[in-house]
């Protein structure tokens, strides 16, 4: 059982978390200027890196999305931070 760290709640069991998307994608807009291929790429393609990965995760129990840095082979977690700074 892996331990992930929610930046708001601290370390919790992996079962409380949901993988959302690889980090670094921004939604292409406006829709009428986005090609089919660009939209498909945004929706579907991914790097699925073997090793270091930066990903957006959701902590299901508190509802916060956050950024996690981890290794997809060793499963070491090296960092987690809020999605966009800590401005309130």
């Amino acid at each position: 059982m892996q331990l992930f760290s929610c930046p708001f709640c601290g370390p919790r069991d992996e079962t409380e978390f949901h993988f959302v998307v690889e980090a670094g994608k921004s939604r292409p807009e406006p829709a009428d200027r986005v090609t089919d291929a660009e939209w498909a790429a945004y929706l579907h393609t991914c790097k699925a890196p073997k090793g270091a990965a930066r990903e957006v995760w959701l902590h299901l129990t508190c509802g916060e999305y956050f950024m996690m840095t981890r290794d997809t082979v060793t499963r070491d977690v090296t960092g987690s931070e809020p999605l966009r700074g800590t401005e309130t």
Partner: protein, 416 residues
């Protein structure tokens, strides 16, 4: 190729079985091939076999980074079936099942195809409605599917929990008589042996490090055992496919997850069919050795490591016991995980990508074993002719940009 039969066994027993030849030759890589296939799993080996058999290509190599059949081919729960909803899926998986049905004789290798039937069990009236939707779709596609009643299901699976404590009582479900299991290793070995007999080089411990292109076409591969020239490259490397094609500028919609399987200590026959329970998500069958072979959901953390986690073990096994309380006394003997390449619509990607001469066959996710013959057949067709077979056309990568996904879970409400 030495012929395998009861008679040959008898004959070789007189010479203490000293006369058996290697099932496949341990080939050294040559400088150039007419076609190279990366990935010595079932799909790669089947591709090589059909290239040689149907397309008469003999200068073919299969490159395997480790030992053949060691990836998901040797790590699955060995279920074969074609109980699908969309005509495209049915065409693909039923081609596979039909090829499986003649495979032992075709390869002269007993893959122990055991068509003991499969039940997808439903627990609510709404699930039963969806089962009817699928069974009718199967019938319209000329596949043997039928709706099974609760009583018939109970007869088929006598130990299933129908007591007052059952959280998910079986209301019946979809029955496919031709579904079943096959011996996974034998499929890989059988294809390897038959392909090798047709001249294919099977090169183990040979890792591909780089794909070479010239202009906009494939030129060869750099491997841990040297450079190999070819202008036709097939990739059937499951979760390793995305990083290989990224070298030639292709991004794929593939995430990698671990999928676990579980095996109990062997017991006398107590389950005669393959069973998938919609309520618990667990599926199982009993092997000829008597072991229960069990699977369930994915470990929902993307990973490239073949390690299973405890939470999913607890979920799958509690699901198993919800179905079969008596199995609580059985012991977990082995557990392992495969890394499965999951596509958003859970259908495979078959077709050309990137430079000319490059074709891929990947994205089988949790269901690649049953598709081995078809996957090999279709990739061989692509490599030999450069064109899609009618059946593989719908599974081209371009479907994502067109929005024409083949999403079985979406269409049938049942994840495959």
């Amino acid at each position: 190729m030495q012929r395998y039969s009861a008679l040959s066994l008898l004959r070789h027993s007189l010479s203490h079985h000293k006369g058996w030849q290697p099932a496949w030759r341990k080939a050294e890589p040559r400088d150039a091939y007419d076609a190279v296939i990366i990935g010595g799993g079932g799909h790669g080996l089947a591709t090589a076999y059909y290239l040689a058999k149907h397309h008469k290509m003999r200068r073919v190599a299969v490159l395997e980074r480790s030992w053949i059949g060691g990836g998901n081919t040797g790590r699955n729960t060995t279920v074969v079936r074609s109980n699908y909803f969309y005509p495209e899926s049915v065409a693909l998986y039923d081609l596979s099942l039909r090829l499986y049905e003649g495979l032992s004789r075709e390869l002269n290798y007993n893959i122990m195809l055991s068509q003991r039937g499969m039940l997808i069990a439903a627990h609510t009236p709404m699930q039963m409605e969806i089962c009817a939707r699928i069974a009718n779709a199967m019938q319209l596609n000329d596949v043997d599917g039928e709706l099974m009643t609760a009583e018939a299901a109970e007869r088929q699976v006598p130990l299933v929990n129908t007591g007052p404590s059952a959280r998910y009582k079986c209301m019946g479900g979809i029955w496919q008589p031709r579904a079943g299991v096959a011996r996974h290793d034998a499929v890989a070995w059988g294809y390897a042996r038959a392909a090798n007999a047709l001249g294919v080089d099977i090169i183990e411990n040979c890792e591909v490090q780089e794909i070479h292109t010239e202009g906009s076409a494939i030129a060869g591969v750099e491997t841990s055992r040297g450079r190999i020239r070819t202008d036709r490259l097939g990739i059937a490397a499951a979760g390793a496919t995305p990083s290989l094609v990224q070298q030639v500028g292709v991004s794929l919609p593939i995430h990698d997850y671990a999928l676990q399987a579980f095996v109990s200590e062997p017991v006398k026959p107590c389950l005669d069919t393959v069973l998938l329970y919609l309520g618990t998500g667990a599926y199982l069958s009993q092997s000829d050795k008597g072991e229960l072979v069990i699977g369930g959901g994915l470990d929902r953390v993307p990973t490239h490591s073949q390690r299973g986690n405890l939470p999913v073990q607890e979920t799958v096994l509690s699901g198993l016991l919800e179905m079969f309380p008596a199995f609580a006394q059985l012991k977990l003997l082995r557990q392992w995980a495969g890394v499965v390449d999951v596509v958003p619509d859970s259908s495979p990607i078959i077709g050309p990508v990137g430079p000319e001469g490059l074709h891929i066959n990947c994205g089988w996710g949790t269901g690649g074993f049953k598709a081995i013959p078809a996957g090999g057949y279709l990739l061989a067709h692509l490599l030999a002719t450069g064109k899609h077979h009618e059946i593989s056309r719908s599974f081209d990568l371009s479907r994502f940009a067109h929005g024409r996904l083949i999403d079985e879970a979406a269409g049938s409400g049942i994840a495959h």
